[in-house]
Symmetry: C2
Subunit: 323 residues, 2 copies
């Protein structure tokens, strides 16, 4: 019998797909009871999970419900295998990315402001916004009220499962796609990160969806912003520290670029931080991966991985193998 500890806040109904020879043990962050378990499913919020860990004994496998597992190795040590729920965030995060692009290209903040003011003819303010943000001051008629995604050049930095999902959702818009990742590939063409600087000037939209590593930390700084087009849109759906916050603030305040961020550095972003009030910026507080479908989806991924673990088969989403 394999003993699996799971967060007591999760509904037990979520685990109906789990192998029948498993004993499910709810773990409460508020209890000091010591539990002897084989497999630990930590709470999706690491702060809660970290309160549970000291009361666990015998853990051989951690099944994270999240794609990001950065905090786990240092917590559980090298003698435990760790698997992520790679894939559970794909759809929600890719959809957030599309929605964030549309929020900026379709001037949603401006139109919400116009709606609140109740003054229909303020629609023409969009035209001045277009000229300012793109630097395209030609007199256009009819006046421009929003921009199109169709035909834009999109640079995706990171080509894992979420990056591929974003690419799939961009397909109807006939964008010119440029892919950059740690590991270059020929088919489809994925450029190495070393070529990023030379590719940035081509892009209307730059999407960050790569893992945070020593190499990706601070990847986007002043030099990169300077190479981006006037009015280009940076979308960070990866991790906050991939972008240098001070350089981002300067680039936004200069009016040269725009940005949409689901992640920031620091995070949570403290009250009064200058990033909150930068122009041409849409911030969401790290919510892009969450949805009503998320819990069921990530538990399903964990169940499949657990079955492989119990059968001694190769794991699909191991981020650390026990030494």
């Amino acid at each position: 019998m394999i003993r699996v500890g799971y967060p007591a806040v999760l509904s037990r109904d979520l685990f109906t797909d789990f192998p029948s020879e498993v004993e499910l043990i709810p773990l409460s962050e508020k209890s000091d009871t010591v539990h002897e378990i084989d497999v630990w499913i930590p709470d999706p919020y690491s702060t809660r999970a970290l309160r549970v860990w000291p009361h666990l004994r015998g853990v051989r496998l951690v099944l994270s419900l999240m794609a990001g597992t950065e905090w786990i190795p240092a917590t559980v040590g090298p003698h435990v295998t760790i698997c992520s729920a790679r894939g559970a965030h794909n759809i929600s995060t890719a959809e957030w990315t599309l929605s964030a692009i549309f929020t900026l290209l379709k001037y949603v903040p401006l139109y919400l402001d116009i709606q609140r003011s109740g003054i229909w003819k303020r629609r023409f303010e969009a035209s001045a916004h277009y000229a300012t943000i793109t630097g395209d001051a030609r007199p256009l008629y009819p006046p421009v009220m929003l921009e199109e995604l169709t035909g834009k050049t999109v640079l995706i930095v990171g080509h894992g499962s979420i990056g591929k999902e974003i690419e799939r959702m961009l397909a109807p818009f006939h964008v010119e796609l440029i892919r950059v990742a740690r590991t270059p590939r020929a088919q489809p063409l994925v450029h190495p990160v070393t070529e990023l600087d030379s590719l940035l000037p081509k892009a209307d939209i730059v999407i960050l969806i790569l893992p945070l590593t020593d190499e990706s930390r601070g990847l986007i700084g002043t030099a990169q912003f300077n190479r981006m087009r006037h009015g280009a849109l940076l979308v960070n759906a990866a991790r906050g520290p991939v972008v240098q916050t001070d350089a981002l603030i300067a680039a936004l305040q200069s009016g040269r670029i725009r940005a949409a961020l689901d992640v920031t550095d620091p995070e949570p972003l403290p009250e009064g931080h200058p990033l909150w009030s930068c122009p041409n910026l849409y911030i969401t507080p790290h919510i892009g991966g969450s949805s009503p479908q998320f819990a069921a989806r990530s538990v399903r991924i964990a169940a499949a991985e657990l079955r492989r673990f119990m059968a001694g088969e190769p794991l699909h989403n191991a981020v650390q193998l026990a030494v």
Copy 2:
């Protein structure tokens, strides 16, 4: 030599694709000069175009740059052929529709409000918003922060060129699609409008993209709102009078449905109109079809139609043939 009058506010560069045997005559709304022309390209804004019309003589063909041509027949009479720029708005209007859906499903107004307040932990307000709007009060963990488009049931009312374009852009989201139009079809399945009421309860999202006719005027009223799901989203990308405004206001104020409107009745929506401040509503002031690409695209459609007219070939976009 064919004489073509076009709005002087449009750049002449847009007309490089026009047949070389055409004489292009700029028409200013501010001039009282009488012009003898064969073909009239009216200003995209009908109020301007109506000031030009009394000074025109000899017009045999009107080439509208817009898809909507409602005002033209009564103005020019039955002895003139009228062609729309059907297709020119397809991409921009379909993109607006997608962006409006995302604005509501991803709680963009709430997150912009949170951004303005600069309080990260207000993210959890999204969870209460989800419970209120959907009527799904089960305790969900992790808390719900936004909704997914993927897997939703989408009812498209109207299956012309823009409706098909919307369908194409929805493809990556694996939505369950239900089509309704005046003319039912078998492949793909398009239901007749008479079945609308019985189909409404199935839909998470109802998209209106049908022409305004005697039959479609007032199509969506109290009875239809009562048949929609709790939290269903109505998107009007068609014409304002397709929806009964009083019934819409009541449905929104009850909290049962949400809506995104690019068109309203009346239009422009006057200051102080109760629609402006309804909850769970996103209004844009009839801007969905506009974009930097629009003018070039509609002039290209007009040029192709003019070539057919000059060659005596069947017209593609005639909305009225001269009697």
